[in-house]
């Protein structure tokens, strides 16, 4: 499925979050099963299927990694997670970051965790910008996609995302302690 088409959007790595929300709500306003509770069974079923699809598209588009994957999948790039062969230098960097994060968490250094989050967010933004370029930018149809580069960047984005998830969990643990 093409989640961008479902929400009536052009495929792009970066999309205005407000625009996604707006379209999502407009579509659900028209399609949600509650709007059709008095309709015949097949019609209710049809709207249910459509509402499910809109919900799924919304989930993909509001998730950085899945949204970027969807862009490349539409450009014919295989984005299977297993295919990623990531630059060892980048992996070393992430490993060091992780160690730093674990140390900060063990010491209960909340301020350090906040700095790590800011750093990871900067990396994420940079990767998204690079991915946008690799995808041939907005609307530049026909531009060749550098598959190897796309795979590499997506792999890195997944690593940064995982790091951010870990940071969130650690920050939460610290808050609750």
């Amino acid at each position: 499925m093409n989640p961008f088409a479902t929400l009536g959007l052009e495929p792009a790595v970066s999309i205005d979050a407000k625009e996604i929300e707006r379209r999502y709500r407009d579509l659900q306003r028209a399609l949600h099963p509650d709007r059709h509770a008095q309709k015949p069974a097949s019609e209710r079923r049809m709207h249910l299927e459509k509402a499910v699809e809109v919900n799924e598209a919304y989930r993909v588009l509001t998730d950085d990694v899945r949204r970027a994957e969807a862009v490349f999948a539409l450009r014919g790039v295989a984005v299977d997670e297993k295919d990623g062969r990531i630059d060892p230098a980048f992996l070393m960097e992430v490993m060091e970051l992780r160690e730093g994060v674990s140390e900060a968490a063990a010491k209960g250094d909340a301020a350090a965790l906040v700095r790590f989050v800011a750093d990871a967010e900067t990396r994420r933004a940079a990767l998204l910008a690079e991915l946008e370029q690799a995808a041939g930018a907005n609307g530049a149809n026909g531009a060749a996609v550098d598959e190897a580069r796309a795979t590499e960047l997506l792999g890195r984005l997944r690593y940064v995302r995982r790091l951010l998830d870990e940071l969130e969990a650690m920050t939460a643990d610290l808050e609750e302690a």
């Binding site: 093409n2 479902t6 052009e10 509650d34 709007r35 509770a37 015949p40 079923r45 049809m46």
Partner: protein
């Protein structure tokens, strides 16, 4: 007692909203002027205590009378039965309660007098029946019902609630999350857009929900809570405090008496700083003690901390901070406790909203939603978008959970997963579905075992079983499966871990009718006629407004089926009505598909100010996205 109770055949049945609470329940409806109101009994009392007594003479008493009996007949008087809904016997056995639990596995059963045992679903059905009768007396006829559940209820708890509704003779339009219902009641009042948090501390459950209100759309962003934490636990903590050193040696009866008294003390402490308690226990012993508000607040501090922790997690899940919240809504009687209000105000940095009675707000919201679902109002500006409260997963090798749908996924939702066979000629396959956030299946809630049958025999590993998990707008899971190579649909048998099987519910329903099969037939005919009227109305309306979408010859075909259904509905055979409904449904399907596509396009275009170019692009996107064949293929997955 008769379930088919029609007082005024001329009165149009009114949809109702029911708040089925741990300590008390209530029913509401929307008046002709569009105002939601709760229904009171002859003493002007709107709250029905959620107490059910099975008296020795075989009669069943619900409400205040049952509550009054609770202290002297604890084993046969059920209080807070909601805590046991959708739970297994083993779980129930671990909790202190005065009931006679029989059996050790599956759904719990409690012995209430000679040879009679009841399940929590049946006990809850008695409460619902009481509310239904109250509504019948007042309104003359009851249409569909929306029943509220804690947002944090899992699939088994929801299914149990739905079963109880069915057993009480209600047409359950929807299970609605309590915080969402409360937000609906508030939102319609305030007409204000923004981000809201609903903090709902009821008698036995705690929910916290973060939602965004945008021009009538209530979009839940995240939800969290604890389905076993509430005012009851405060009563227990206070009872311990009252009993002091004697707490460890209390009999079950004394404990219940003390807890009931503690509730009164708790209420008094909301108004005063000190309360002198003087409680007589069964057997004549007395407990006299002065409790200060400070003592009480210290005793409940750990409980409050748990709620605040859940609230912070819900905020994180919604990717929001406390400062982003525009308003906090308090729901549930336990939020009357000053310490609760203070803690919430402190966490969010603002005074919570309490303008609607926290005991009644949920029922009021449920009534509004019932009205909307029954198509009673012209209220097409309101829509509730809810989420799955707990992750759904299947057990894989080594007892590890593979997540299918994460928590806070917007519902309705679906996910498909492909499995294969591990033995040659294998024709069956078992899936264990669990719910929860833990890594191991043993640490999550077991929902059900689904057995797929009818897999075409092949070599091991050849079959490709696509299992589709679908969560409906009630938050209830449905599973279907198909072998992809052959396209053969598998039948799926569900064996709920703690719930009741469909046949068990049917049997209980039959038992509930006075005249057994005759009543069932009469009821089926009534239901089919209502459904027939619904589809006929919808069809006529569609033909009026969207005639331009009809293809040549289609109108004649539809008209033919309309006439056939009208004739069947005038007859007495409910099977014939059902068949005619199905035929008409089938005949209008292509027309309905075209209407939906157009609505979809219009919804996207509505806000599109980007000019002609992007508009064509969108339209193209939709076309390419929805080929006729694919849509038909999908709708075949119906069960």
């Amino acid at each position: 007692m008769a379930l088919l109770q029609i007082l005024d055949p001329g009165a149009k049945p009114k949809p109702i909203g029911i708040d089925l609470g741990t300590t008390h329940s209530l029913v509401a409806y929307v008046t002709a002027t569009g105002e939601p109101v709760t229904l009171a009994d002859c003493d002007n009392e709107t709250l029905v205590p959620s107490a059910v007594r099975y008296a020795p003479d075989g009669s069943v008493v619900v409400g205040k009378q049952a509550l009054d009996a609770a202290a002297h007949a604890p084993a046969e008087t059920f209080l807070s039965i909601k805590r046991f809904m959708g739970r297994g016997s083993a779980d129930v056995a671990k909790e202190p309660h005065p009931y006679k639990l029989v059996g050790t596995d599956g759904a719990p059963r409690f012995e209430v007098g000679a040879g009679r045992a009841v399940t929590p679903v049946e006990v809850s059905a008695e409460i619902l029946r009481e509310l239904r009768n109250r509504a019948l007396d007042e309104l003359g006829g009851v249409g569909g019902a929306v029943i509220t559940v804690p947002a944090y209820f899992d699939d088994a708890q929801r299914q149990a609630t739905k079963d109880a509704g069915k057993l009480a003779g209600l047409d359950v339009l929807r299970l609605l999350n309590e915080p969402t219902a409360a937000a609906l009641a508030y939102g319609l009042d305030a007409k204000k857009n923004g981000t809201f948090v609903v903090y709902d501390l009821g008698g036995g459950t705690f929910d916290v929900t973060v939602l965004v209100l945008d021009d009538g759309v209530f979009q839940v962003k995240s939800t969290g809570g604890d389905s076993h934490l509430g005012g009851d636990d405060m009563d227990r903590a206070l009872a311990e405090l009252l009993a002091g050193d004697a707490a460890a040696n209390l009999t079950t009866d004394s404990r219940r008496a003390l807890e009931l008294a503690a509730r009164q003390v708790k209420h008094a402490l909301s108004e005063r700083d000190n309360v002198n308690a003087d409680i007589e226990l069964p057997g004549g012993a007395r407990v006299t003690r002065t409790v200060s508000r400070t003592d009480f607040e210290q005793a409940i501090a750990p409980l409050l901390d748990r709620t605040l922790k859940a609230a912070r997690r819900a905020l994180r899940d919604a990717k929001l901070g406390a400062a982003d919240v525009d308003g906090v809504i308090l729901v549930g009687g336990a939020t009357r406790t000053p310490a609760v209000r203070r803690a919430v105000a402190e966490l969010f940095g603002k005074e919570p909203l309490t303008s609607i009675d926290p005991d009644r707000v949920v029922a009021l919201g449920a009534a509004v939603q019932a009205d909307i679902l029954a198509g009673e109002t012209g209220r097409d500006d309101v829509l509730l978008l809810d989420v799955l409260p707990l992750s759904l997963g299947v057990e894989t090798m080594g007892g590890v959970v593979e997540r299918i749908l994460p928590r806070n996924t917007p519902i309705p939702a679906a996910a498909a997963q492909v499995f294969t066979t591990y033995a040659d000629q294998q024709t069956g396959f078992e899936l264990h579905v669990v719910q929860g956030e833990r890594e191991l299946a043993a640490d999550c809630r077991s929902l059900a075992k689904f057995t797929l049958r009818g897999i075409p025999p092949m070599s091991a590993g050849m079959a490709r079983l696509e299992v589709r998990f679908e969560v409906d707008a009630n938050g209830i899971l449905h599973v279907s499966a198909k072998e992809q190579r052959t396209g053969i649909e598998q039948s799926v048998d569900v064996e709920p871990t703690y719930g009741l099987g469909d046949d068990e519910i049917e049997r209980m329903l039959l038992d509930a009718y006075e005249h057994g099969e005759d009543d069932v037939k009469k009821r089926a005919l009534t239901e089919q006629r209502v459904e027939a009227a619904r589809i006929l109305d919808a069809t006529r309306a569609a033909l009026r407004t969207d005639a331009t979408l009809l293809e040549p010859g289609e109108r004649e075909l539809i008209d033919k089926h309309v006439v056939a259904l009208e004739m069947a509905a005038a007859g007495e055979d409910h099977h014939a009505v059902a068949r005619a409904i199905e035929s008409l449904d089938h005949a209008i399907k292509p027309f309905a598909g075209r209407r939906m596509d157009r609505a979809f396009r219009e919804a996207l275009r509505g806000r599109d100010l980007g000019g002609l170019e992007s508009e064509t692009a969108h339209a193209k996107g939709i076309e390419s996205h929805l080929p006729q064949g694919e849509r038909d293929g999908r709708t075949q997955v119906e069960k």
